[in-house]
Every structure is written in structure tokens, then in C-alpha cells.
């Protein structure tokens, strides 16, 4: 694992007052920001910033499933591909799926297969793509949370969103939402995903060492947090579409007058004007 050789002594992840390295308490979530509808080509998309994580999710579908022999005559295939960009981690990751990405893709696909109304679209596939642009532990939870919003944004019929969060143990204390340092040096990590309305658990993984009581404490923390995260998912979807007409008319510039009817333009004479236009269009 990265960074281990830089630590010469035991790192104290949580102090006597229950304060973690980044100042959080044991039940504090990192700051989360969710936006729906951020890409043009994809049918649905969402972007999540979660602590130091930056994750993009996109959905295509339902669309014709290829190759043909993998089509299911009764329902849509629900497939997720989770991938990390090479620059998303401190030590560059070679492009392409590794075994970890393949496993995460599988468990996330299965989480969504349980909520999508797949029978409405026989012989098609709903393709979900999760791309981690910057990683800080908990990427599968951030990715799943983003992918849920992307699925709703794409208009895929579902029985509910799926919300995801992880809890673990650091310095002997069960804590919510571990970041990279805590995940590297802590004693356990337990990501989960839940269907908010019904409480069904659709993703559950764990690695490390937890007593049965510690596990229950971790789940309580995660389930509690997913209620807050669900509100953010819903808010992101509503914000995407919910603008009053007044705001729209105030914010959009009046339609530009159509260009005068040229006969045939001589490209070279346009460059002076073009350069002046370019000055106005410097982006953020």
C-alpha cells in the first residue's frame, strides 16, 4: 500500500477526545456535494465530491444489448463498470481494469439490478459507468451514490434510489466514513448500500476485524448517514430541473440577432474580429 514507508511511527488516528486527524468526530460525514446532469452525450449523469473524492457517473440505456447472445429475452441487463483514472491516486495507476475494479463493478451492478424495473425493457442493457477522477477512500460508496442519481437523471424506472456509505474502526473506535489515512491504518472497513425506503441492504462488504457488537455499531452509523445522503441525492435531482420561469427569463440573455445574410465570406478578413471575440470568451 502507498505511503506506508513514509510513516516511521504509529499514527494516532483518533485522540482521547474522540477527534480524528481531520477534526471530525466518530459520527461525522465528510463534506459531500452532488450535481445531476453534468454530461451531454450520456443519457443520465451525476458528479459527486465526497471529502477528497471526485467521482463521475454516467448511464446509457436502456439500449440494445450487445453482443446479441448475451441479451436476456425477459429483462434488461444492468451492468456497471467502475474505473479509476491513472491520476486519481498518488502512485499512478496503469490504465485499464484491475482485479479490484472488476470486483467493485460486479457488486455495484448487483446492487442496482435489485431496484431497476428491468422487466420493462427486455433484450436491452442499462449501462452504468463510474469513473473515479480523484480518490480518497470510499470511492465505491461515492460512485454508487452518484450512479443512483445518474440512473434517475436518465429516466430509468426504479423502485427507489440506492444510497451508500461506509463505516469502520480506527484506534479501536467505530467511526463513520473513513478517509484514506484511516482506511490504510485502521482496523476495519465496512461499505454498504441501502434502498432508503425499504431498508433493504443491496451491497455489503467488510474487511478487517470487528466484533459482532462493533459491526452493529458500524451499521447503525452508516444507516443513519444514508438518510442524510439520500436527501442530498434528491436535492440534486430536483435542482437539475426545478428552476422557476422567472429565473430562467432573467438569467438567459436575449436571443442573439441572427447573423446578416452573407454571400460568400472571405475567411482571412474575419481574423481581426475573431481575435477580439476570443478576448470576451476567456473561460473560468
Amino acid at each position: 500500500m502507498e505511503d506506508i514507508e513514509h510513516f516511521e511511527r504509529e499514527v494516532k488516528l483518533i485522540d482521547e477526545n474522540g477527534v480524528r486527524l481531520d477534526g471530525r468526530k466518530s459520527d461525522d460525514l465528510r463534506p459531500i456535494r452532488i450535481e445531476a446532469g453534468v454530461l451531454r452525450r450520456a443519457d443520465g449523469s451525476a458528479y459527486v465530491e465526497w471529502g477528497g473524492n471526485k467521482v463521475l457517473a454516467a448511464v446509457y440505456g436502456p439500449r440494445e444489448a450487445h453482443p446479441r447472445h448475451l441479451q436476456d429475452p425477459a429483462r434488461a441487463l444492468v451492468q456497471c463498470r467502475y474505473n479509476m483514472a491513472p491520476f486519481s491516486v498518488s502512485d499512478r495507476k496503469r490504465p485499464g481494469p484491475d482485479r479490484r475494479s472488476v470486483e467493485i463493478s460486479k457488486v455495484i451492478s448487483e446492487a442496482f439490478a435489485s431496484v431497476v424495473f428491468a422487466e420493462q425493457f427486455p433484450r436491452t442493457s442499462v449501462d452504468i459507468f463510474i469513473e473515479v477522477l480523484q480518490a480518497d477512500a470510499g470511492t465505491r460508496c461515492a460512485g454508487l451514490t452518484a450512479a443512483s442519481v445518474a440512473l434517475a437523471d436518465a429516466g430509468v424506472p426504479m423502485k427507489d434510489l440506492v444510497t451508500s456509505c461506509a463505516s469502520g474502526k480506527i484506534g479501536g473506535v467505530v467511526c463513520l466514513d473513513l478517509d484514506k489515512e484511516e482506511d490504510n491504518f485502521g482496523e476495519a472497513d465496512c461499505p454498504m448500500a441501502i434502498v432508503p425506503r425499504t431498508g433493504e441492504i443491496v451491497l455489503l462488504q467488510m474487511d478487517g476485524h470487528l466484533t459482532y457488537e462493533e459491526f452493529q455499531k458500524a451499521m447503525d452509523l452508516s444507516i443513519g448517514a444514508t438518510k442524510r445522503i439520500y436527501e442530498m441525492q434528491r436535492d440534486a435531482l430536483r435542482r437539475r430541473y426545478s428552476v422557476t420561469l422567472e429565473e430562467i427569463l432573467n438569467e438567459s440573455p436575449p436571443p442573439p440577432p441572427p447573423a446578416e445574410e452573407p454571400v460568400l465570406r472571405d475567411p482571412t478578413s474575419e481574423y481581426e474580429r475573431f481575435e477580439a471575440d476570443l478576448d470576451r470568451e476567456v473561460g473560468p
Binding site: 439500449r63 429475452p73 429516466g155 426504479m158 430536483r238 428552476v243 420561469l245
Partner: protein, 232 residues
């Protein structure tokens, strides 16, 4: 101005939208005595049925839908048409407006042609058949094609066609709107460009209240600044 105000209520999948006193309409489902939304959309209720009008989603063909398609493949007795749907849509030679001999399909329609057709049938496993045997069906020539989200088509057409008629009259264009979100505009390039912008305007603000007035303003503004092509 009258008619402007907040948008209608937007619901997300899984949100409760009614109890056992309402019937579940499109975009909803019934579970454990309550009705829930299954899609992101606008909540409406009428005659005891609650529905959600989706704000996005792929086009799912219904029999009778008018669609604008593009021929993507050709066989001796049929053409395969892309209608912007998850499902391929074949048009059989016998459903065309012409008398087509076996193997002679290329004489009438070829890969790359745009057509206006109707959905003839959709079976239980969503196999589709198209037909061109009605008055409006034709191969499209000239003009331009526009694509919008299929979920916005009802708004672009408007109540009893009011919105699309408004745009047609203001721009002097011929406009065919396919249920699959494809739209054909025919007229001089300046008029079709204006009509295209008006349609995009409606698509972006589809769920807002008072849209018709806003579109009237938009078109009047545009005509004023360019000198009106549609003025009597």
C-alpha cells in the same frame, strides 16, 4: 405577467405519491398499499389516477406513434430503421407505399434516407414493426432534422397542437414532430434556424408554468430584431 410562477412538483423514484385511494398511472407503481413514483418527473393527478410525467428517458414505441427514422440497413424485403429507441425497427416492403419486388428495396429507400413513418405494432417482447401506409408517411428531403428528448414532445406539440402551431405560424416553416423526439423542419434556412431555437427553448423549460407566453415573447423578440419573415 400572468401564468409565471413556480414549477409543478418534481418527484424522484421511490417517493410516495398516493395511498390506496388512488390508482397507479404511468410512471408509478403500487406496493404495500401505497403508490410510488418510478421515474424522475412531474406529478399529476386526474380522475383518481396519479401519474408521473417523466423528465427524461429513452423513447419506447407505442402502436400508432408517428416517428421520424433513418434507414440504417437494407435487406431484400425490408429496411431496418433507427428510430432512436432501444429496439431496432424493421419496415417490411409490404408496409411501404410502393410496390416493391423482392431484392428491389434499394430502388425506393436506401441507407441514409430519413423517413416519416408510423409504429404498426409492438409485441410482448417489444419487437417492433413500422408502416408507411398512411397519408403522412414519406421519404423526407431538404430542410433539417432536430433531436429533442422524447419526454418533451407533448410540450412541443402543446394542447391540441397549440404550441407547434404557434411556432409554425411565426416562422412559416413546415414542421413534423415525431413521438420519438425527432423533428423535421422545412423552410428557408433562416426560418428553420429560428424554429429550431424556439423548439429548443420549449425543450429546456418544458416543465415550467406559463411557457406559451414565454415562447410568444421569444418569437416576437426574434422577429423584431431580424425583420419578420413570417409577418403578413
Amino acid at each position: 405577467m400572468e401564468g409565471r410562477g413556480p414549477v409543478r412538483q418534481i418527484v424522484i423514484p421511490g417517493e410516495a405519491v398516493g395511498g390506496s385511494d388512488v390508482k397507479p398511472g404511468p410512471g408509478t407503481f403500487f406496493e404495500g398499499g401505497r403508490v410510488y413514483a418510478s421515474q424522475l418527473g412531474v406529478l399529476t393527478q386526474r380522475d383518481g389516477t396519479v401519474s408521473v410525467i417523466p423528465l427524461s428517458g429513452r423513447y419506447i414505441p407505442q402502436p400508432g406513434d408517428a416517428v421520424i427514422g433513418e434507414v440504417v440497413d437494407i435487406g431484400p424485403s425490408h429496411w431496418l430503421v433507427d428510430i432512436n429507441s432501444p429496439y431496432p425497427a424493421p419496415l417490411h416492403a409490404t408496409e411501404s407505399p410502393w410496390h416493391v419486388e423482392f431484392g428491389d428495396t434499394g430502388r425506393f429507400l436506401n441507407v441514409g434516407d430519413a423517413i416519416m413513418a408510423h409504429v404498426l405494432s409492438v409485441d410482448e417482447i417489444k419487437r417492433i414493426q413500422l408502416t408507411m401506409q398512411d397519408r403522412e408517411a414519406r421519404r423526407l428531403k431538404g430542410g433539417q432534422l432536430l433531436e429533442i428528448s422524447p419526454t418533451k414532445v407533448p410540450r412541443v406539440i402543446g394542447k391540441q397542437g397549440s404550441m407547434i402551431t404557434l411556432i409554425k405560424q411565426s416562422t412559416g416553416c413546415r414542421i413534423y414532430v415525431g413521438q420519438n423526439g425527432r423533428i423535421w423542419l422545412d423552410g428557408d434556412d433562416r426560418s428553420t434556424a429560428l424554429a429550431a431555437r424556439a423548439i429548443k427553448f420549449v425543450e429546456e423549460r418544458a416543465q415550467a408554468v406559463g411557457l406559451t407566453e414565454a415562447v410568444k415573447d421569444f418569437l416576437a423578440n426574434a422577429r423584431r430584431t431580424q425583420g419578420s419573415p413570417g409577418r403578413a
